[in-house]
C-alpha cells in the first residue's frame, strides 16, 4: 500500500524535475557566439592542391598559396529543377545569373543593361518600331555556350518554340503567348512580332535560354523536354560559372567557366549548401561555414550582425498588403469607401514593423512603391497615418454608430460592421491578423479572421478557394507587379472569376475606370505617356483604398565580411557575381 504512494510521489518528483530542468532561463544568445571570433585563418580551404588561384591574396597564416576561392552559400530550400521554366522556386530562379544568361540583366538600381544583345531595343535606336508591333534585337558577336558553341539567334527561336510547344508542361508561357512570331533572319538578329503593342516586353522576355544543340535531340527523341537530364544537370550553360554537380539533399556546385566572353570571375567555385532549416543556416553563418545566406529569421538578425555579418536588403518588387474586395458579394461595409479609409487609419503599421519585423523594413504605401525610381508614384499621394481618432470620426460621419454598446458599430439599418479577413498560415501573417483584429476592434470594427494552407488559399474559383469565390472582404498576401514592369492584371474586369471564367484571378472587383486605365497602359509604348497613366492608376488605387500596404517584402541577404564586391539586384540578384571576391 505504502509503496503505491511512493509511486505517485516518484512520479510527481520526476515531472517536477523535468519542468525545472527545461526551465533554465534563456539568454538571448548563447555565450558560445562570443567565441566565434573573426577567424584569423582562411576558411573555405576545400581543395588545396588544385589549379593556381586567380589572384594572389595576402593570407596572414600558413596556408598553401595555390588555394581556390570557394564561396559557400547556405540555401534553406533545395531547388526542384534548374530549368527556370519548370521551377517556381525563387531559390532556383536566381541561380540563372550564375550559370545561364539573359538578353539583358538588371543592376542594383533595378535598371536594365544589355548582356547578350549589343543594345537594348528602343524607339530611339530603331529596335522598336513606331507602331510598337515589331522588336528587333542584335546579338553580340562573341557570345558562346560553355562548351564553346556560339550562341546564335537559332537558340532564341528554339527557346520560343519549346516554351510554346504543347508537349512541354512549362509553368508559364508568359509573355511568349503575346507574340505572333519570332524570326531569325540571320545568326545575329531576332525579330519579334506582336499582334498588339505590348508595353511590358522589356521586363519579361529572354530570361534564360535553351541550348538548341543540346535540347533539340532530346526533344526529337522523347517528344518533350519535361524529363530532359539538362533540367537537373545543365552542364551546358552560358554564364560566368558552369554547373558541376548536384547531390540531392546535400549540395550543388558551380565552377568557373573557361568560355565566358566577359572574362573570368574572381571566384573559382560557388558551393551551395542545402541546410535543413533557418536555425541551421544561422548556425552555419555564425560559425563561418557559410558566406552567404537568405531570409534569416528576424530574431536572429541582431546576433548575426554582432558576429560581423552584413544584412543587405534589396527590393524585389514584393510588398505585403491587404487587397480589398468590392465585388457584389462583399459585405456592404467594405464597399463603403469611408470604412476602407477608416481601416487604413486604424492600423499602426509602424508598430507592426518595429515589433514584429524588428524595424528591418518600411511601410509600403502603394502597389508600385518598388518602382518609385521609375517615376510611377506621383508625389501628391498622401500617405496614411495611424490616427484611430480620425478613423472613428470618419466612421461616425458615415453613419456607423455603436447603438447597442457592444463595441461594434452598426449602420442605420442595424447591420454590424463585421469584416472577414483571410490569409495563409504563415506565422507572421497570423500574428498580423491578431494585431489587426485588436486595433480595428478599438475603433469599433469587428474583424473575423481565418487562414488556410496556401494551396487552398490560392486555389481557383473552380476549387472554391475563399478569395476566389469572394468569401473574404480583405485578403492578405505578398505580391508584386510584373516587376520591373508596372503592369499587373489583377484588377482587369475580364479577370473576374465566374462559372464561364473559372480561373480568373481578379478577386477584388470591376471598376470600369480603373479597368480602362490598365488596358490603356498595356498598349502604350511611349514611356512618358505610359508613366502618366501609371501615375493615375497608382493614385486611384491608393485613394480608393483598393490596396493597403503593410510593409515592403524585401529580399534579405546575409553576407560574410570575407566576400567583397558584393552587390545585389532585385530582379537578377547575382548580376555582378563576376566581381565578387574572397578575402
Amino acid at each position: 500500500m505504502k509503496r503505491q504512494w511512493i509511486f505517485s510521489f516518484v512520479v510527481s518528483v520526476m515531472i517536477a524535475s523535468l519542468v525545472l530542468a527545461a526551465c533554465v532561463p534563456a539568454t538571448p544568445a548563447p555565450p558560445a557566439t562570443e567565441e566565434v571570433a573573426q577567424p584569423t585563418t582562411e576558411e573555405q580551404i576545400v581543395q588545396p592542391t588544385e589549379a593556381p588561384s586567380v589572384q594572389p591574396t595576402a593570407e596572414p597564416t600558413a596556408v598553401p598559396p595555390a588555394e581556390r576561392k570557394v564561396a559557400t552559400f547556405a540555401w534553406t530550400q533545395e531547388p526542384d529543377s534548374l530549368n527556370t521554366w519548370y521551377s517556381d522556386m525563387w531559390f532556383a530562379d536566381i541561380l540563372q545569373q550564375i550559370w545561364s544568361c539573359w538578353a539583358w540583366q538588371y543592376d542594383d538600381q533595378n535598371l536594365p543593361y544589355p548582356h547578350l544583345v549589343t543594345e537594348i531595343p528602343s524607339m530611339e535606336n530603331g529596335g522598336v518600331s513606331e507602331d510598337g508591333l515589331t522588336i528587333t534585337m542584335h546579338l553580340r558577336d562573341d557570345i558562346v555556350w560553355s562548351d564553346g558553341t556560339p550562341i546564335t539567334s537559332a537558340d532564341f527561336v528554339f527557346t520560343y518554340d519549346m516554351v510554346m510547344n504543347e508537349a512541354n508542361a512549362v509553368s508559364s508561357q508568359y509573355p511568349y503567348d503575346y507574340l505572333e512570331s519570332v524570326e531569325a533572319p540571320d545568326d545575329r538578329t531576332i525579330v519579334m512580332t506582336f499582334a498588339e503593342p505590348f508595353a511590358p516586353w522589356e521586363s519579361a522576355f529572354w530570361q534564360g535560354l535553351f541550348p538548341k544543340h543540346v535540347l533539340e535531340p532530346v526533344f526529337e527523341a522523347d517528344g518533350t523536354i519535361d524529363q530532359a537530364d539538362w533540367n537537373l544537370a545543365p552542364t551546358v550553360g552560358c554564364g560566368p560559372f558552369v554547373f558541376s554537380d548536384w547531390e540531392s539533399g546535400s549540395f550543388m556546385r558551380f565552377v568557373k567557366s573557361d568560355n565566358y566572353w566577359l572574362g573570368q570571375p574572381n571566384l573559382d567555385e560557388i558551393f551551395f549548401q542545402f541546410v535543413p532549416d533557418d536555425a541551421a543556416q544561422t548556425a552555419a553563418l555564425m560559425a563561418g561555414d557559410a558566406d552567404l545566406g537568405t531570409f534569416p529569421p528576424l530574431s536572429d538578425v541582431p546576433a548575426l550582425e554582432d558576429a560581423g555579418l552584413k544584412i543587405i536588403t534589396q527590393n524585389g518588387g514584393y510588398s505585403e498588403g491587404w487587397f480589398f474586395n468590392f465585388r457584389d458579394m462583399a459585405s456592404p461595409a467594405i464597399k463603403d469607401l469611408n470604412v476602407r479609409r477608416a481601416i487604413a487609419m486604424a492600423i499602426d503599421r509602424e508598430a507592426i514593423i518595429q515589433d514584429l519585423l524588428l524595424g528591418l523594413t518600411k511601410p509600403a504605401e502603394t502597389f508600385w512603391d518598388a518602382l518609385a525610381a521609375y517615376g510611377y508614384v506621383p508625389p501628391d499621394i498622401v500617405p496614411w497615418t495611424y490616427d484611430p481618432e480620425e478613423a472613428k470620426r470618419v466612421l461616425e460621419e458615415a453613419g456607423w454608430v455603436d447603438t447597442d454598446g457592444d463595441g461594434i458599430r452598426e449602420d442605420a439599418n442595424g447591420n454590424k460592421l463585421t469584416i472577414t479577413h483571410g490569409t495563409t498560415i504563415r506565422e507572421i501573417r497570423q500574428d498580423i491578423q491578431a494585431v489587426a483584429q485588436q486595433q480595428l476592434g478599438e475603433v469599433g470594427i469587428d474583424l473575423q479572421i481565418t487562414s488556410n494552407d496556401s494551396d487552398i488559399f490560392f486555389g481557383s474559383y473552380a476549387d472554391g478557394a475563399p478569395p476566389a469565390v469572394g468569401d473574404l472582404d480583405i485578403m492578405e498576401w505578398s505580391d508584386s507587379t510584373y516587376f520591373p514592369d508596372p503592369d499587373t492584371d489583377y484588377w482587369l474586369c475580364s479577370q473576374i472569376p465566374s462559372d464561364e471564367n473559372p480561373y480568373g484571378y481578379n478577386y477584388f472587383g470591376c471598376d470600369e475606370q480603373l479597368d480602362a486605365l490598365f488596358q490603356q497602359q498595356l498598349v502604350t509604348i511611349d514611356s512618358a505617356a505610359r508613366t502618366k497613366i501609371i501615375q493615375q492608376i497608382t493614385k486611384y488605387t491608393h485613394d480608393q483604398v483598393y490596396w493597403y500596404g503593410l510593409y515592403v517584402d524585401a529580399d534579405y541577404w546575409i553576407v560574410s565580411e570575407h566576400l567583397t564586391g558584393v552587390k545585389f539586384s532585385g530582379v537578377t540578384p547575382f548580376y555582378n557575381i563576376m566581381e565578387w571576391d574572397m578575402q
Partner: protein
C-alpha cells in the same frame, strides 16, 4: 498453410483497391496543385488551363483514377486543348509499377522521389525498432522479476510518463537539453537538425551522430509502452504452473527465465512489432519534421501540403502494401513460433 497464405493475399487485393480509391478521391479534392505554380505570383488563367490539360488534371475524377491505376498509353489524350484527343498517352499506371510524375518537381518520377527518401527513413526506423525491442524486453522482464520493489515502481512510473508524452515534447526537450544546454555548459553536445553537418559531409560517423536524438525521442515513448506490455505478459507467464514445475525440477533460475518464461512472454510482442511496420515506412512524421530528417514522413507532409497527388498516393500505397504483407508475415511467424496455433 499455403492455402491460407493465398487466401489472405487474395483477400488483400480488394482491400487495397478500396484504400486506393478512397485516398485518391480525398487527395484530388484537397487543394489545388496548380495554385502555387506561378511561383510567388498567382498562376495565370491561361497557364492554369494549359497545365491542367498537360498534367491530366482536367479529366473527371474517375478517369484520373483509371489513368493513375492502369496508365493511359492505351488511349489518346488531348494535349493542345482543341477538344480532339490526338496524342498517345505515355503513362503506364501503378499496376505496372509507374507511379506517375510528381506535380511539384515536374519531370521527376514519383517513385524516384520516394525511393530517394526511403533509405533515410529505414536508417532511422530499423535501429529504433531494434533498440525498442531490446530495451522493452530488458526493462519489462527486469521489472516483472522485481515486482513490487522500488525499482519496479520507478520503472513503472517512468514508463507511464514516457508514453504519455507527445513525441514533439520529447524531441524538443531532448534537443534543448542535449544540444542547447550541453553546449552552454561546455559538455560535448549533440547536433540538432539534419542528417549530417553540411560542412563535413555525409560521412557514416556524422549520420550516426545525427541519428542519436531522433532515435532517442522515438524509442523513449515506444519502449515505455512496450515494456509495460512485456512486464504484464511476463507476470502472467511466471505465475503459470509449468514455470513452477521447472523450478521444482531444480532447473537453474536463469534457465527457467530465459529458456521458458521469456520465450512465451515475448511471443505476443511479435504481433505488436509486426503491426509497427506502417510506422517503419511512414517514418515518424513529427520526428522527421522536428529534426529536419529527409525521410518519407517529411516527404509526405511537404508534398501533401502542395497537393502532389502522385507522390502522396505512392507513399500511401507502398505503406498499405507493406502493412498487408507484414501482417501476413507476422501471423505466419507467430504460428511457426507458437505450436498451439494452427491455420487451416
Amino acid at each position: 498453410m499455403t492455402k491460407y497464405i493465398i487466401r489472405r493475399l487474395l483477400q488483400a487485393i480488394p482491400l487495397l483497391f478500396i484504400i486506393s480509391l478512397v485516398l485518391f478521391v480525398l487527395m484530388r479534392n484537397t487543394g489545388d496543385p496548380l495554385a502555387t505554380m506561378g511561383g510567388r505570383r498567382a498562376t495565370r488563367p491561361e497557364d492554369r488551363a494549359r497545365l491542367a490539360r498537360q498534367l491530366g488534371l482536367d479529366q473527371p475524377i474517375y478517369k484520373q483514377y483509371i489513368y493513375w491505376l492502369i496508365g493511359n498509353d492505351w488511349t489518346k489524350i488531348d494535349l493542345n486543348g482543341d477538344g480532339i484527343a490526338e496524342t498517345q498517352g505515355t503513362r503506364q499506371g501503378v499496376l505496372r509499377g509507374e507511379f506517375g510524375f510528381s506535380l511539384l518537381s515536374r519531370g521527376k518520377p514519383a517513385l524516384d522521389i520516394i525511393m530517394e527518401r526511403l533509405p533515410n527513413t529505414l536508417l532511422l526506423m530499423i535501429p529504433a525498432e531494434v533498440i525498442v525491442l531490446l530495451v522493452s524486453l530488458a526493462v519489462g522482464v527486469y521489472s516483472a522479476l522485481r515486482q513490487y520493489t522500488w525499482w519496479d515502481h520507478f520503472i513503472t512510473a517512468g514508463s507511464f510518463i514516457g508514453y504519455s508524452m507527445p513525441i514533439f515534447f520529447v524531441a524538443l526537450l531532448s534537443m534543448y537539453i542535449f544540444s542547447v544546454d550541453f553546449k552552454r555548459w561546455g559538455l560535448p553536445y549533440l547536433p540538432t537538425v539534419g542528417m549530417f553537418d553540411p560542412q563535413i559531409g555525409k560521412t557514416p560517423s556524422q549520420v550516426a551522430l545525427h541519428m542519436v536524438l531522433p532515435i532517442f525521442s522515438m524509442t523513449v515513448i515506444t519502449a515505455a509502452g512496450y515494456s509495460r506490455f512485456v512486464r504484464s505478459q511476463m507476470l502472467e507467464v511466471i505465475s503459470e504452473d509449468y514455470i513452477r514445475t521447472a523450478h521444482a525440477k531444480g532447473l537453474p533460475y536463469r534457465m527457467v527465465i530465459t529458456g521458458h518464461a521469456l520465450k512465451n512472454a515475448a511471443l505476443p510482442l511479435v504481433t505488436i512489432v509486426g503491426l509497427d511496420v506502417p510506422l517503419l515506412l511512414g517514418g515518424a512524421v513529427v520526428t522527421e519534421s522536428i529534426f529536419a530528417w529527409p525521410g518519407m514522413g517529411r516527404l509526405f507532409i511537404d508534398h501533401l501540403s502542395r497537393s502532389d497527388t502522385p507522390v502522396v498516393m505512392g507513399i500511401l500505397m507502398i505503406i498499405s502494401v507493406a502493412v498487408v504483407l507484414s501482417q501476413l508475415l507476422t501471423d505466419i511467424i507467430y504460428g511457426w513460433l507458437d505450436p498451439r496455433i494452427r491455420y487451416n
